[in-house]
Subunit: 412 residues, 2 copies
C-alpha cells in the first residue's frame, strides 16, 4: 500500500522519518504486506534529504495515482489544504491530517464527503499533538454521555504561564524566551490570543456533542493581559492561572464553548501541567473525570499521532471508521454572557474601605485575597457564581475603583 505526504515541514518530515524508523512494526500493525511512502508534495526542493527523490511539486500526480490509498496532509492552513483534501477524498483516498484549522473550519463537510466516498478522514494529531484523545473520546468513552471537556490545549501559552508562575517572569519576558526556544512564532498571536486553543476546543466539542462548532462563534481571550500580580493572587487563593479551553453541554441542547485564562485549584490534575505539555479533561456521566496528559506539539509526538491514523486507515480499507457530526445551526453555541461562574477581580482605588464596601454590596460577600508587597489601593477578591452579563453590568456601574483584571474560576 502506498502513502503520500503533502507538506514536508516539521510534522511532515517527522511522519516520513517515523514511517522509516519503526517501519517493520508499523507495517505489521497495519495488517498490510507493505506500507510505502511514494510521494512528498512540497513547493520547495530538499537537496541531500533522504527523500529528495520522491519530493514532487505537482499535486495532480498524487491525485491521479490510483496506488496512493492514504494521503497525509501536514501543510497547515485552510487553503489549499482544503481543496487538496477534498479532491483526495472524492478520488477515494483516505486522508489523515494534523491541521487543526482545517478540521475546525471544514471538518463537518470533509467528514461528510469521506462518508459518501467510503473512505476515512482522521485527525488525531489535530488536537493534543501526540496525546491520544480523538479516538478515546469516540471509542473508549462511547458508553458515556459526555457533559464537559476542558483542557490546556496550547503548549506555547502554557510555557509562558509556567515561567510566570515558577520564575516570576513577566509576560513579555516569558514570551521572548518562548520565541528563543522555538515554542512561539515571531507573530505569536495565534497562540497567545487563544486562537489555536479555540480551534482545538471546536474540534473536541464537535466530537463530544455531535454538532460542528465554528471558531468564530467561540468567545476567545488570550493571556496578554495576565500580570504577575494576578499570578500571585492565584497562588494565595490556592491555585494557578492556566489558559483553559472548555465546552459544556447545556440542558436545552445548546453548548457553551469558551477559551480564556482561568484559576485552577492546585490539587487539580490540570494545575500540575507545566511547560509545553497539554492535558485534556473529559467529564462523562459514567466515568467521571478522565485526564489525558502529554506533549501537545512537537515533531515526533505529532508525527506519532499521524502515523497511528495512517495505520488505522490501512487496517480499515474496506471498512470505514465511524466518525462524524452534524453541521452547526444558528444559536447552537450559547452567548458567553449567559455563563455563570465565579470570578477573580483585581482593582485599584483611592479609597479601599469604600471600594470593598461597594464590591460587597454589588456581589454579596466577596472573598478578599492578599499578596506580599501589594501597592496601596490594590484590592483583589473572588465572587460567588454570577452570570457574565450580570457581572459586566455591575462593574459598569462601579464608581470608586478601577477594574484591572477579571479572571474566571474553574471547578476542575
Amino acid at each position: 500500500m502506498f502513502v503520500a505526504i503533502m507538506g514536508y515541514g516539521v510534522v511532515g518530515s517527522g511522519v516520513a522519518s517515523l514511517l522509516k524508523k519503526n517501519h517493520e512494526h508499523i507495517v505489521q500493525k497495519s495488517m498490510q504486506n507493505e506500507l510505502e511512502l511514494k510521494y512528498i508534495l512540497d513547493r520547495r526542493t530538499f537537496p541531500g534529504d533522504p527523500y529528495e527523490q520522491i519530493v514532487i511539486s505537482d499535486f495532480s500526480k498524487i491525485l491521479e495515482d490510483d496506488e496512493i490509498k492514504i494521503v497525509v496532509e501536514t501543510m497547515g492552513g485552510v487553503h489549499p489544504a482544503y481543496e487538496y483534501v477534498l479532491a483526495c477524498l472524492k478520488a477515494g483516498k483516505s486522508v489523515v491530517t494534523s491541521n487543526k484549522e482545517l478540521v475546525a473550519v471544514k471538518g463537518c463537510e470533509l467528514l461528510e464527503v469521506a462518508d459518501e466516498h467510503n473512505v476515512n478522514f482522521l485527525f488525531e494529531a489535530s488536537v493534543g499533538g501526540g496525546i491520544p484523545i480523538i479516538r478515546p473520546i469516540s471509542q473508549c468513552l462511547a458508553a458515556n454521555d459526555i457533559d464537559e471537556i476542558a483542557g490546556i490545549l496550547n503548549g506555547t501559552t502554557n510555557f509562558i504561564l509556567t515561567k510566570m508562575i515558577t520564575e516570576g517572569m513577566t509576560f513579555d519576558e516569558a514570551l521572548l524566551l518562548a520565541q528563543k526556544n522555538g515554542y512561539a512564532e515571531r507573530d505569536p498571536s495565534a497562540d497567545v490570543d487563544g486562537f489555536d486553543a479555540c480551534r482545538k476546543i471546536c474540534i473536541l466539542a464537535a466530537l463530544c456533542f455531535g454538532k460542528h462548532v465554528y471558531p468564530d462563534s467561540v468567545h476567545t481571550e488570550g493571556i496578554r493581559k495576565i500580570k504577575l500580580s494576578d499570578v500571585e493572587y492565584a497562588h494565595s487563593w490556592g491555585g494557578v492561572i492556566k489558559l483553559i479551553a472548555r465546552a459544556k453541554k447545556l440542558e436545552d441542547g445548546r453548548v457553551s464553548v469558551m477559551v480564556s485564562p482561568a484559576f485552577v485549584q492546585n490539587h487539580s490534575q490540570l494545575a500540575s501541567v507545566d511547560d509545553v505539555f497539554n492535558a485534556i479533561l473529559v467529564r462523562g456521566d459514567a466515568i467521571g473525570d478522565v485526564v489525558f496528559y502529554g506533549r501537545g506539539a512537537g515533531k515526533m509526538p505529532t508525527a506519532s499521532a499521524v502515523v497511528a491514523d495512517v495505520i488505522d486507515c490501512a487496517k480499515h480499507m474496506e471498512r470505514k471508521k465511524f466518525f462524524g457530526w452534524k453541521d452547526s445551526e444558528p444559536g447552537y453555541v450559547a452567548d458567553y454572557l449567559e455563563n455563570v461562574t465565579s470570578f477573580y477581580i483585581r482593582a485599584t482605588t483611592e479609597n479601599a474601605a469604600s471600594a470593598v464596601a461597594s464590591f460587597n454590596s454589588l456581589f454579596g460577600k466577596v472573598e478578599l485575597l492578599t499578596r506580599e508587597n501589594a501597592p496601596e489601593g490594590e484590592i483583589a477578591f473572588t465572587t460567588e457564581p454570577i452570570s457574565e452579563k450580570e457581572l459586566s453590568e455591575k462593574l459598569a456601574g462601579l464608581k470608586d475603583a478601577k477594574i484591572e483584571s477579571v479572571i474566571r474560576i474553574t471547578d476542575y
Copy 2:
C-alpha cells in the same frame, strides 16, 4: 443484536444499568438496529430487580442461544470464568471482560482462540477501570516503540497511601478507613500486597511488548511495611511514596516487570494522583511520556469501559479487532535482582557517625535525609543507582546498623 452478562455483581449490574440509561446513544454508536440484554447469568436470584425476569442460572442457555453474539464476563476469578469464556469464544461469540485475573493468567490463550474463531476478546475494563488504556496503547500509540509503562494501578493502596501522606494516618488506621468506605475487602491482601496491581501490569506488559507475562514471574511487594517515617523522609526528599507497577523493555529483548512501593518526585504527574484514582504513564520513542488518569475502579467507570468494548464488538461483527501477543518463554522476564535503580534506605543504629561512614564506604557517597523529631540513632539516605543484587549483598554484610526500610526511587 443480543447480549448476555455473566455475573450480576457490582460491575455486571453497572453494565446492565448503563446499557439501559444511555441506550439510544449506545445503539447508535454500535451501528446496529438494536442492542438488547437477553440474559444475566448468576447463581443468585434478584427479587424486585428490574432485570429479575432475565436472570438465569444455567450457562448452557447462553452458550446454545445463537442470537447471543456478545457475552460480558463480570464474574471475576479464573474458574469457572475461564471455562465459560472459552466455550463462548469457541461457539463464535465475542467476549468482553473486566476480569484482570482471567486476562493476566489466560489472556494469551483466549486471544488465540478468539482469533481462530474470528471473534473478539476485549478487556479494556481489566486495567485502570474506566480509564481508556488498552485501546490507546494498541491503536493510538501504534506508531511508537514503547520502552516503558508504569502506573498507579490499585485504588485501594493509593487511598491508603494518600491518607498516610496527607493526614498522617498509620497504615493500619488508613486500611481500616478504606475498609469502612468499601474500598478494601475484609481480607485486603489482593490489594495491599500488590497482587491486583501485578495482574494489571502483566496485561499492560503483554500488550506493549508482545509476549505474555505471568503474574507469578513478577517480583511483587505491597505497602504493609511502609511507615509514617518513610512518608516523612519521602517528603523531605521532595516526593511521595506510591505503589508503582512497571514494565520495561530491556535491550536484549527481555522485560523487567515489578510491583513495589517507590519514591516519586513531586513534580511527576504520578505524584498528584490521590485517593482511589489511578494513572498510567506510557513512555514511547516518538511520543515521550503520556499519562492517562481517572477512576481505576468503581461500578460505573468500570461498566463504562465494558460497554465501550461491547459497542466495539458490535461494530466489528464481520471483522475482528487485531489484538494479541505471543506466549511467554523461560527467562523472558528478567530476574528483578538485575534491576539497577537508586534506593532510599532507613536504618537504626547505636552509633550514627560510624554507621554513616559504613554506608558511605558501601555505596560511595550517600545523600542523607532528615525529618522532624527523628529518634536518636535513626539514619535515612538515598543511594546512587545500584543493582538490587549488589544492594542486598552489601546490606547483608552490614554490622553497625539495622535496616528498617528499603524503597526504590523512580525517574518518572
